[in-house]
């Protein structure tokens, strides 16, 4: 019954919005859902911040199935919403199809890639820079001089995380051992906490005492096992420190909220193109809160802040894996 109400509600929202004449922005959340404590929730927070500050309103929809992707984007575009923001790389192909039909609407994809579409704004993040900082923290927190990384599906984006992390760890300790594992090569690798857990145990057996997970749902198993086995873990995308207070060293933040906020603020002036959000733009960062305050020493914080300032000032450059598909600090 509740499900039915939801579907009807969503349909009604879309139908009602057809009468809106002023261009309002719209946000479409990927399957993870609006309150996923991660990526999508971050997008919602950005939109909400914009609404609170400007008094504007926005419409949003949570996708319930794969088949709704194109439908949802098309309905928002038809109803005159502008800009239409979508989250997640899985939106790419549906967005490409719809964007061609609505040249006057600006579409935004966060993490996606839509080639040859002048009205699509592609927002990407400098994950390697954020990962570099958490890699430094991992190396400083490690007592065994071995840290590890668990990626989800083996794609260039995830290798970018791993490569930045390894560079950061090696910047602190030149002889540190960085163990890197990928969960798999198919999309099931994003949702296999059991395998994530086993990989974590295998890495612990190889001496790792700090593990960084960039693996979606698989990461939940990684953080859980790390907490169970008494080693530190590093979360990803949003602040995952509260998941296991005192056990998660930090989280590599991807400030999707900032990106969404910026796009909504631009409103009708938002144009297609590329936008890469780096450390300097506040696009990536590391999380500090009361849950990890006791884990991060003053010395650690000073060193990381210094590196952050250097990266922002351009004095320190972190190699981006996707620039040339190779990593100086790690073999894949």
């Amino acid at each position: 019954m509740t499900l039915m109400t939801k579907i009807l509600g969503a349909a009604a929202t879309l139908a009602l919005s057809a009468t809106v004449s002023v261009a309002e922005p719209a946000v479409i959340y990927d399957l993870g859902g609006k309150f996923d404590k991660s990526f999508n929730e971050s997008a919602f927070n950005g939109a909400q911040r914009w609404a609170d500050e400007t008094g504007g309103t926005f419409r949003d929809i949570e996708l319930q199935s794969e088949a709704q992707r194109e439908q949802a984007i098309r309905r928002f575009a038809e109803a005159g919403f502008n800009p239409v923001v979508t989250t997640g790389f899985a939106m790419s192909s549906a967005l490409g199809t719809v964007a061609a039909d609505f040249p006057d609407t600006t579409f935004v994809t966060i993490d996606g890639y839509v080639p040859d579409a002048p009205n699509v704004l592609i927002v990407s993040f400098a994950e390697h820079e954020g990962s570099y900082l958490v890699g430094m923290m991992a190396a400083m927190a490690s007592e065994s001089n071995t840290v590890s990384f668990i990626g989800g599906m083996d794609i260039p984006l995830i290798r970018r995380f791993a490569c930045g992390y390894a560079q950061g760890a090696k910047a602190v300790s030149g002889d540190i051992n960085v163990v890197s594992n990928m969960t798999g090569t198919t999309p099931t690798a994003w949702n296999d906490p059991v395998k994530g857990s086993e990989l974590t145990r295998a890495q612990i057996a190889q001496g790792s005492d700090v593990v960084y997970a960039a693996a979606g749902g698989t990461g939940i198993g990684v953080l859980q096992t790390a907490a169970d086995e008494g080693i530190l873990s590093i979360g990803v995308d949003s602040n995952q420190n509260p998941m296991h207070p005192g056990k998660v060293l930090t989280s590599m933040l991807k400030r999707v909220d900032n990106a969404v906020y910026a796009v909504l603020s631009a409103g009708d002036d938002a144009k297609g193109g590329f936008q890469s959000l780096s450390l300097a733009d506040g696009g990536v960062d590391f999380a500090m809160d009361e849950n990890n305050a006791s884990l991060v020493s003053a010395e650690m914080q000073t060193a990381v802040e210094a590196a952050k300032a250097q990266i922002i000032a351009g004095e320190l450059s972190v190699h981006n894996y996707t620039d040339d598909d190779s990593c100086p600090a790690l073999n894949f």
């Binding site: 399957l31 993870g32 949702n191 059991v194 086993e198 145990r201 698989t218 894949f332």
Partner: protein, 321 residues
């Protein structure tokens, strides 16, 4: 590779083999009675979701386990209804169950918890915790025996030990009891069983219910023993690996144990040595991850010999009119 590494790999093997073993035995009962079941994956998934959801709400993993088994039995009965009562195609019904479970778990999970189809993380009594056997700590320093006892034998969740006990139990039930004889007969020649005055329908339904119970255990072990909560599609193809193991084992309980241990072992090796160097040549990660599947093909194609399924498998029984 030192001794401790071997122990750790075997320890991981035990954990990874358990869900496969339970699902494999589930398939064994069903297929021995002539009901092919490719819905093992879906039943495990439904059980994983329901057990994690109920354990999260009730705070008791045992209540979760029962609920998970209930969900799995429900899907089993659905399969039974379609393929025994209505004499539908067993493969199609199994596929339908897989799709149903994959979709429903996420939609219901999203509706209940609003965290993207996951369930909240389980803690304390909400999950099966490892059982440390007596003297495991004290003996852990003893060479060889200590490592084997404290790492390999001790420190698993109760479902691991249960699954190992189910193997001899299955063997006994199938090969030493009257019920087992009839169950096997109904998978080979249901007409003969019917002639002897035993209900084919009832036997087949009991087989799918047993299948549901075992799949329920497998799913609950995934979500509340190995992980601490449900994540969408977390079975990740284990139900299909279990089916391969079942064929590999030629529908025999002890061989099912060996087959599942082999698959678990291969996965554990793949996890432990993702980039391995053999005589100066580095083996790519992709190869190590594909190894279980490559070996499955090689073993099935070349080494098992002829695997003959129960003769009446896949055929609905029509009483002569």
């Amino acid at each position: 590779m030192d001794f401790m590494t071997i122990i750790q790999i075997l320890d991981s093997t035990m954990r990874l083999a358990t869900p496969l073993l339970l699902a494999c035995l589930a398939g064994l009962f069903s297929e021995r009675a002539g009901i092919f079941d490719i819905g093992l994956e879906g039943k495990m998934l439904a059980a994983a979701f329901v057990s994690a959801a109920v354990a999260a709400v009730s705070g008791s993993v045992w209540v979760g386990l029962l609920a998970g088994m209930g969900a799995s039995i429900f899907l089993s009965l659905l399969h039974g209804l379609a393929s025994i009562t209505f004499r539908g195609d067993q493969l199609i019904s199994g596929v339908a169950i897989n799709f149903l479970a994959a979709g429903l778990t996420v939609v219901i999970g999203q509706s209940w918890f609003q965290i993207g189809g996951r369930t909240p993380s389980l803690s304390g009594d909400g999950r099966f915790l490892p059982i440390n056997w007596p003297f495991a700590e004290a003996l852990s320093e003893t060479p060889v025996i200590g490592g084997i006892y404290s790492e390999l034998i001790s420190g698993h969740t109760i479902l691991v030990y249960v699954s190992l006990l189910i193997v001899p139990l299955s063997w006994y039930v199938l090969f030493r009891t009257r019920f087992g004889l009839r169950l096997r007969a109904v998978g080979e020649n249901p007409a003969a069983v019917d002639t002897a005055g035993v209900s084919v329908i009832r036997l087949r339904y009991s087989a799918v219910i047993i299948c549901g119970v075992l799949c329920g255990l497998a799913g609950a072990y995934l979500a509340t023993g190995l992980a601490a909560g449900f994540v969408k599609e977390m079975t990740a193809g284990r139900g299909f690996i279990a089916l391969a193991a079942l064929i590999f084992a030629k529908w025999r309980p002890w061989h099912a144990l060996y087959a599942c241990l082999l698959f678990g072992f291969l996965e554990a090796i793949g996890n432990r040595f993702q980039s391995i160097e053999i005589i100066g040549i580095s083996v790519p990660v992709q190869f190590m991850q594909a190894l279980p599947y490559i070996l499955t093909v090689v073993i099935l194609a070349g080494f098992v010999g002829k695997a003959v399924p129960p003769r009446a498998g896949g055929q609905p029984y029509v009483k002569e009119r």
